[in-house]
Amino acid sequence: MKNMKKISIIALALAVLVSFGCSKDYLDTYPTSSTSPGTIFESTDAAKVAVNGLNKLMRRQYGAYGQGYNGEGTVRLYIGDYLGANLMKGNSTSFLNSANGNLYVSNTSSLGGYSWYYYYMVIGNANTLIKNIDEAEGTDGDRAYIKAQALCYRAYCYFNLVQIFGRRWSDGSDKPSCVLRLTGDEPDNLDRATSGEVYAQIYADLDEAISLFNKSGKANSRRDGYTMDLDVAYAIYARVALTREDWNNALKYAQLARKDYPLQSVADEKAGFCNPTSEWIWYQYGAEDETLYYYDYFAYAAYNAAASTVRNYPLLISRQLFDKIPATDIRRAWWLDPAGYEGSFNTNTMKASAQNSKNKLWVYGQDYATQDGRVGILSNSCVFAYMNFKIHNNAQPGIGNLCLFRSSEMLLIEAEANYQLHNEAAAQALLVELNATSKRDPAYTCDKSGSALMDEIKFYRGVELWGEGFNWFDLKRWGDTINRKKYADGGNWMSQYAITITPNEKNNWTWCIPQSETNYNKGITSTAN
């Protein structure tokens, strides 16, 4: 009896213990700030969020590499322009080593490492989309449209990689460039593909994308110029083909790309390149509620940006380019012409002396900004001879829409392709269309031929597309020499930038494969470019 009681009490105590055991799903927890790929690829509606994710990846902060790394804008400015011959950052030596070509061989350089990491981050996400979208619920049209978009992003990214990490087409199509990953299932250890192979894949992606866009029945159904559609595919194709020296395709796709995007008006040329115009084919969205703060392209480029890197080190045009711009060209007003103010700026840095001394050029620069309906520069901004007034921003510290493809470039691609195909008259006519017909330089005529005509095309690419990230890519593909001169020699480069870099110097302008790759990829059989 006593034992019975004891046992029942113990049993009761154990029952108390066990009764507190939790329900079966107690340990199931789910995140609320992210979701699973299963949800993303369940339907085409959800997958659209991932397509938009590709856009976002091309415009977000990459703080791992430092302030200023913002996706595509960084490649445009830091590589496309800082490394070239037409644009400088006044009085700044921050980019000295990269601008002088000393970092191409550095496998730890932020610029090389970033370009690689960023483009592959987009490619990795695009690959997942391409692989999974066929299983998503939705219409065939929607699936085709999404897949076509993803293929275009991938093609665009590989195109940039092959330009940065591969040799120029003319002497390097058989040389290794970047690693080609298309499904995400490849082994980590994978050797580099040759430039030729990468271009072949870019073509294949664009061909498939164009066919899918057409099949989708909604090729040009996008609402906004900052998302991907068939016209963007054409525009990418044109730029790729030009770089690949495939003149016929360059011509064909440039024409297709710009047919619905008439050249912008003179007023738009003066409007600061921060809001879409009639000729913008593809751009990046930028607004206050999607600010990248001090990382934004405009926080580095826009003359009226509040960022100190602009206020103290604004973008300047190379005097060697500027001086060639005809007086009748409205684009000359994109930069501060110091004529008549000699002596009131430093001839090494181009800087008008400190703002408190109310230097003449400084006063003029302040006024100049507000001429022609422009937004003024900030009162605490420094004024430099030859400083940029082409690009401004919509809001602080540097917010605007960044154009990636526009018709003027397409037109110049046509001109260059025509020249290479020996259609000189067509090339001349296109230059007239760009300059005179558009009223950018009403006095413009063109009767140049031969290499002088090619130089003319190069010159107008330099002027029209200044600051938009083309110069270094152009110089590299042309095999041109960078020849920067000091003020005394007719240029305006700071003394340490005033050097000559020939096409075959400095590792053939080819960035070496960054450590973040070679540390983990032992499939790479050669580090030589």
Binding site: Y118, R311, K522
Partner: protein, 1097 residues
């Protein structure tokens, strides 16, 4: 009938007492400790053979009326009983000998308390009296040097918790922090939430046996924190007040003054012009002299015009003097300070058979070593328990704290970190604006104005001034924590106890930031402000059934239990910009919303636990435990794990054969083995593939991969073996010697893929997938020893030392992730470290500095000959072939470009780290660490000192590297640059045997700087340190006098933490972190000095 019998008994008793009463005398006396001579308070005195007795007072005095021939029995816990016959004496003084054999000391262990002698695992305890000596705001800081096997690094800012590693580093992916358990319940908060004054003890559970009952969170060790409760039946109260100073314990590096700065800067820039722009030396000097003010800004602090500062040879004009007005060139003066520290505590306690209670109220306010860093805390606690009936004990612990920590340099960007700016700012830039003649440029009210660098175009931190920003900006965290714990112990059937415990803790933490519209990050946005809110909810529910049974010489104890743990936090973030009224810091003052987001995260555990203990004659102890744990961090299929341990202790001294060995006491041997786990290397949803939500592009949702899937993840498990011998020699020396070996398996590893696989983060360069791979072993020996050198009535002196020898080695990395760098297989790189089999987790693997070429002054590195060549041979190198799973000899090496290579005396060197070889270069973990301490007591004075040390570690001194770097931007420089190479020593030739020197400082050259100052073994330095961790002096007023004014005790004390630190280089703080990479932006160890008074009632 019954009544009659009672009456009869009473009568008999009275009759028996009458003669005794007649012969009664009054005996007075004092009971003292035989060792210390201190009075023994509350010792019990009993008349032998009767129920009559009394107790001593707080000083050890007693008075008792007893029969002339009585025998008194004196007893007190911790002392041997002693008998004394009165024999008519009226004064009986007694010296009680401490009972070293059977100190019935109770220690806190997992899920309960245990007699110290019965413990079979490895534990260390720090008691409240040691805590009270230390002026710390977070009690985690007292562990440094106090326990063997515990490596602890102090925090730098007020309120910072210490970083603690117990018996090495087992996990790789980051979480190596111990589990904190407060009053029996796992703690989710910050240790600085607790008032150190409320803490009775810290117990560190170091091995599997002591910690196994914490299952999958135990492998990093467990720290049990027990709060105070009422102990004695004396109702007591104490008030303490401490006042002190908080400043920097580590000095700044030796930096050059303004004149030397000018010379070094000039040289570096000039050489850059020559190398990068092809100028001649004369052209470069001319360029520099002309353009100096565009390179340095229009600052000329010297009394000589800018163009005359340098001569035609590029030499600085040292006769130039700094203009009188520039008395603000040292940014340190405006960044560091002596912060004031105040600490007030009131507490009360009492205990009786039926209840006990403790309550306290504390206020702490610490100003940090950097301007605008401070910490204040209000804390309150009430611990109450009652025993209304014999079989029930129940109670509650209730605590609350409010704290605010203000603007910390820690974690702010280089642009806004005043500490870092003071470290790197060139010594020619003043803090304030000046006129050209050097006088202050005053504002309209006649006050000095901070210099943002814009007026004179300062190239360094232009448009920034962190000192000014720190003044105008807000960056603080405010935290409110409340905790409530209720428990009930129900005793039934004699041997059983059912304990039920519930604990809820809520924490609300709000980070407030404000960036002003005048200067700094908020300027472009016209001011901006953010609020980040975290609301944490934690609860634990515990049911334990205990059985304790003794029969004959055997004692058995069994425990079964269930516990569930719930942790959830809700996060909310709001960011607005464009202020309406200048300086208004509330969100209402801003007009545009830039960000608003929020989410929740949760973590849950469910566990079943059990333990069995057996004790035979207090001679042999056996213990085994088992726990089954489920965690929400892993996939359903891998969620549950089993953890267990066994341990035994042999009290050798209790054996018959030891009876006659007088010189050794308390000799014990213990041994334990077990398996515990760690689930914290994984994120809360670590096994899921994730696409991030919350970003948008073009106004629509945008989502991309943020985590790769890892469905197979399980916890890391750790097999731990521990064995120890301890004892007491000659009744004055204690020793413990212990060996441990821990092997962590199934390591949770973030396995990096090549970047081309596709990154998953923008804020770090990572493509990682979390995997369970590899294993790491930590093993070592812990020794501790202390001795009473002098043991006199009024004079005691003791000395103690402890040391931990430890080694950390990676045993296995997975073959599937074989990575071949620099000829190594199965390796994985992490910054300056390389994870490789046979090497430690903290082993440096960095570019190998070969020396400085004395012909050119350039730094030479050893060539990476697996990928590159200089001379023609060996053009083909090895590479790992994934298909063949072997090294194949077909790797096409490339030649090092001409400008970066040199062959000296037949050996190849490179000058650019891209082509340089990386190799093993020591470890950032010390080989030996520990402490020594000494205590001196003379009459009412006591003096104690604690020293901590670590030996055998290496650091990469990044803060020094900063100062050795001379690029085109101005920067502060280390004095070592004054001895930089300038030309080849006379007689040196291309083929000289001593052409390469490791001691020469390389040439100052802005062009080569990237390569000469790359992170390499050149910046490796010994991480050894010796720290005078604490010195404490106290004086207690004589008790008689204190009592006479109606108080229980008054103690005055003075204490200093981190009085002095000895390291290999002035300025360097090897205690910044375990990784051994030292940064100039970190807040270093503080020196905290206080004086205080404590009054007991």
């Amino acid at each position: 009938m019954r009544k009659l019998r009672l009456l009869f008994t009473c009568l008999l008793t009275v009759l028996a007492l009458v003669p005794a009463l007649a012969q009664t005398i009054t005996v007075k006396g004092e009971v003292k400790d035989a060792n210390t001579g201190e009075g023994v308070p509350f010792a019990s005195i009993q008349v032998k053979g009767t129920m009559t007795g009394t107790a001593t007072d707080a000083d050890g005095n007693f008075t008792i009326d007893v029969p002339r021939n009585a025998t008194l029995i004196f007893s007190s816990i911790g002392y041997l009983n002693q008998e004394a016959a009165v024999e008519g004496r009226t004064t009986v003084n007694i010296l009680l000998a401490p009972d070293t054999e059977s100190i019935e000391e109770l220690v806190v262990v997992a899920y309960g308390v245990a007699k110290k002698e019965s413990v079979t695992g490895a534990i260390s305890t720090v008691k409240s009296d040691a805590i009270a000596q230390r002026p710390v705001s977070s009690v985690s800081n007292v562990l440094e040097g106090m326990a063997t096997g515990v490596l602890s690094l102090p925090g730098g800012d007020p309120g910072d918790d210490a970083s603690i590693r117990i018996r090495g580093v087992g996990s790789v992916t980051g979480n190596n922090t111990p589990l904190y358990v407060i009053d029996g319940v796992p703690f989710g908060g910050n240790i600085s939430d607790l008032n150190p004054n409320d803490i009775e003890s810290l117990t560190v559970l170091k091995d599997a046996t002591s910690a196994a009952l914490y299952g999958n969170r135990a492998s990093n060790g467990v720290i049990l924190i027990t709060t105070k409760r009422g102990k004695s039946d004396k109702v007591g109260m104490s008030v303490s007040v401490n006042q002190g100073i908080y400043n920097r314990a580590i000095p700044e590096y030796d930096k050059v003054d303004a004149k030397d700065f000018m010379q070094i800067y000039f040289t570096g820039y000039m050489n850059n012009l020559i190398a990068s722009s092809g100028m001649t030396r004369a052209e470069a000097i001319n360029d520099m002299r002309t353009n100096l003010f565009t390179y340095l800004g229009e600052y000329n602090i010297f009394d000589v015009p800018m163009e005359n500062l340098f001569d035609a040879n590029g030499k600085f004009n040292y006769s130039a003097n700094i203009l009188k007005g520039y008395d603000d060139l040292n940014w340190w003066d405006y960044t560091m300070r002596n912060g004031y520290r105040q600490d007030y505590n009131v507490s009360g306690s009492g205990a009786s058979e039926k209840s006990n209670y403790y309550f306290s109220l504390g206020y702490l306010n610490e100003e940090g070593q950097t301007v605008n860093s401070d910490f204040s805390r209000w804390s309150g606690r009430a611990n109450i328990s009652v025993t209304p009936v014999k079989w029930l004990k129940a109670g509650a612990n209730i605590s609350a704290s409010w704290q605010k920590s203000n603007y910390r340099s820690t974690g702010s960007t280089a642009y806004a970190n005043p500490l870092y700016q003071a470290h790197v700012m060139a010594p020619i830039y003043p803090v304030h604006l000046h006129n050209l003649d050097g006088s202050y440029l005053l504002d309209e009210n006649g006050n000095p104005q901070y210099d943002a660098g814009e007026l004179y175009s300062r190239p360094q931190y232009n448009a920034r001034c962190a000192i000014w920003e720190a003044e105008l900006d807000t960056r603080f965290t405010q935290r409110v924590t409340t905790g409530a714990q209720a428990f009930a112990d129900i005793t039934f059937l004699k041997d059983f106890t059912l304990s039920i415990k519930g604990d809820v803790s809520l924490r609300n933490s709000m980070d407030r930031t404000y960036n002003n519209a005048t200067i700094g990050d908020g300027k472009g946005a016209n001011g901006r402000a953010s609020r980040t809110n975290y609301l944490y909810t934690n609860y634990t529910f515990q049911q334990l059934l205990n059985w304790h049974h003794s029969f004959g010489d055997h004692t058995l104890e069994a425990l079964v239990g269930h516990e569930n743990y719930y942790y959830n936090y809700e996060y909310q973030y709001n960011y607005k910009q464009d202020e309406t009224l200048p300086g208004g810091r509330e969100l209402d003052n801003f007009n545009s919303m830039t960000s608003m987001e929020g989410s929740q995260s949760g973590y849950r555990l469910e566990s079943y636990l059990s333990r069995l203990k057996y004790d035979y004659m207090s001679k042999y102890f056996l213990e085994g435990s088992f726990r089954r744990d489920g965690t929400s961090r892993f996939h359903k299929n891998n969620r549950w794990g089993n953890f267990w341990s066994v341990g035994a202790t042999w009290a050798i001294s209790r054996e018959e054969f030891m009876k006659n060995v007088g010189w050794i006491d308390n000799l014990r041997y213990r041994i334990s083995y077990g398996q515990v786990g760690n689930d914290r290397g994984s994120g809360y949803y670590g096994y899921m593939a994730l696409y991030g939500l919350g970003s948008k592009y073009g106004g629509s949702a945008a989502s991309y991969k943020t985590q790769n899937e890892a469905a197979d993840l399980v916890w890391e498990s750790e097999n731990s073996f521990s064995t120890a011998l301890e004892g007491r020699l000659f009744d004055r020396m204690n020793f413990t010697a212990e060996y441990f070996n821990k092997t962590t398996q199934d390591l949770l590893f973030d396995v990096e893929h090549p970047s081309s696989v596709g990154g998953i983060s923008g804020s770090s360069v990572t493509t990682a997938t979390t995997q369970n791979i590899g294993s790491v072993r930590n093993y070592g020996v812990e020794l501790s020893f202390d001795v009473d050198i002098i043991k006199k009535r009024d004079f005691n002196w003791n000395f103690g030392v402890n040391a931990t020898w430890m080694k950390n080695v990676i045993l296995k990395l997975p073959e599937t992730d074989v990575t071949n760098y620099d000829g190594l297989q199965n390796a994985m790189r992490n910054g300056t470290k390389l994870y490789a089999e046979g090497h430690g987790l903290y082993d440096f693997h960095i570019y190998q500095f070969a020396g400085v070429d004395q012909m050119t002054g350039l730094v030479l590195y050893e060539i990476d000959d697996t990928k590159y060549y200089i001379l023609d041979e060996n053009k083909i190198g090895d590479r790992w072939d994934e298909d063949k799973k072997q090294l194949v000899h077909d790797f096409q090496k490339s030649q090092v470009p001409e400008e970066y290579r040199v062959v000296i005396n037949g050996k190849e060197y490179v000058m650019n780290t891209t082509y340089a070889k990386r190799d093993w270069s020591g470890s950032s973990l010390p080989k030996i660490y520990g402490s020594f301490n000494t205590g001196l007591r003379w009459k009412n004075f006591s003096l104690s000192a604690l020293f901590t040390y670590a030996l055998g570690s290496k650091c990469i001194d990044g803060a020094y590297q900063d100062l050795m770097s001379v690029s085109t931007g101005p920067h502060s420089y280390h004095v070592d640059l004054l001895n930089a190479w300038s030309e080849a020593p006379s007689g040196m030739t291309e083929t000289s045997a001593d052409r390469i020197s490791k001691t020469v400082t390389p040439r100052i050259d802005g062009y080569w700087n990237t390569y000469t100052n790359a992170t390499s073994s050149r910046y490796l330095v010994s991480g050894n340190y010796l720290i005078v961790k604490n010195v404490n002096l106290a004086y207690s007023f004589p008790r008689r006098w204190v009592n006479s004014i109606g108080l229980g005790g008054i103690t005055l004390s003075a204490s200093v933490d981190n009085l002095w630190t000895f390291t290999a280089r002035k300025g360097m703080n090897p205690q910044q972190g375990f990784s051994g990479v030292i940064s100039g932006s970190a807040v270093n160890t503080p020196r905290v000095g206080t004086i205080g008074v404590k009054v007991n009632f």
